[in-house]
Subunit: 142 residues, 2 copies
Amino acid sequence: MEDHSTLKEELNENLVEFFDRFTSWESSVIESSNLKISDAHAIEILGHYGRMNMKDLAGRLGITTGTTTITVDRLEKGGFAQRVRAEHDRRSYIIELTEEGTQAYEEHHRHHLNLAAEIAELLGDEETRTLIVLLKKINERI
Amino acid sequence: MEDHSTLKEELNENLVEFFDRFTSWESSVIESSNLKISDAHAIEILGHYGRMNMKDLAGRLGITTGTTTITVDRLEKGGFAQRVRAEHDRRSYIIELTEEGTQAYEEHHRHHLNLAAEIAELLGDEETRTLIVLLKKINERI
DNA sequence: TCAAATAGTTTGATGATCTAACAATATGAA
DNA sequence: TTCATATTGTTAGATCATCAAACTATTTGA
C-alpha cells in the first residue's frame, strides 16, 4: 500500500510499526497484571518517580486531578497506594505505594527490563549503544 | 530516581521516554483534528490499508466488531466513510473512506511525515538510515 | 437440506476521561 | 492582620471507548 520513496516515509513507517508493537506489548503486560490500565499507569509513575501529591501525579499522568482522585480511590481500595496528609499544606495529600503497590511496580518493571534485554541481545552491545544515542537525541528534541 | 547501571536499564529508560513522547504527540495531533480517537484510528487503518470489511477492520484496530459497528456508524454520520454491500457475501459490508475521509487521512499522514522529517533532519541521513535499520530489526522480532 | 459457522448489530455493562462547581486551605497585598 | 484571590483536591454529571453475550441474516459443508 505504501511506497518508501523517501527516507522520511520509510522512517515514518517503521516508527509507526514500532509504536504499534510497543503499544500492544504494553497492553498485554498490563492485562496479565489484573490491574485496570489507569491504575497500572499510576503505579508506574509512583514507582518510577516516588511519592508525590495529587496534582503532580495528575500532571505526570497527563490527566485532570478529578480523574486522578478516582484512580487513587481505587488504588487505595485495592491496597496498592495510600494517601498521607502533607505536612506543610493541609489541602494536600502525598500518594505513596504500599508494599503491595511496590511489588506490582517491580513486577511491571521486570517485564520492561526483559523486553529491553531481548532487544539488547538482538542488536548486540554496539548497536544497542547506538540506539540509545539516537533515542536520546530524539527525546531531547521531540 | 533511576540509575542506569546496565545497558538494558538505560535502553529501557529511553524506550519508555520515547514511547511516552510519541503517545502525547499522537494525542495532540488527533485532538487538533476534531475527530474522536477511535474514529481517527479507523480512518488511519482505512487510509493505510484501503477498504475492508467490518471483521478485518476490527482485527486491524484490535477491538471487537461490536465496537467497530459504533465507530463506523459515527464515521458514516460524519461523512468520513461509507458501508458498501459486499458482492459475494450478503452478510458483509465493505467500509471505505469518502472524499472527506480520505482528506482527513491525508491530513493526519502529513503530520506523521512532518514528524519523521523533523527527526531525519535532527539525525542527518547517515544516522537516520541507521535508525531505520535498527527499528526494522526490532519490529521483525518483537 | 439443515446444522453449524460466520458477519455484523444490539444491548447492557464497566472504565477512562473531561468540565464545572464546590470545600478547605494557603498566600499576599493593603 | 485581614480579606480577596489562588490553589489543592473532591464531587457531580456528562461523553466516549470498550467488552461480552444474545441476536439476525447469511453462508457453508456434511
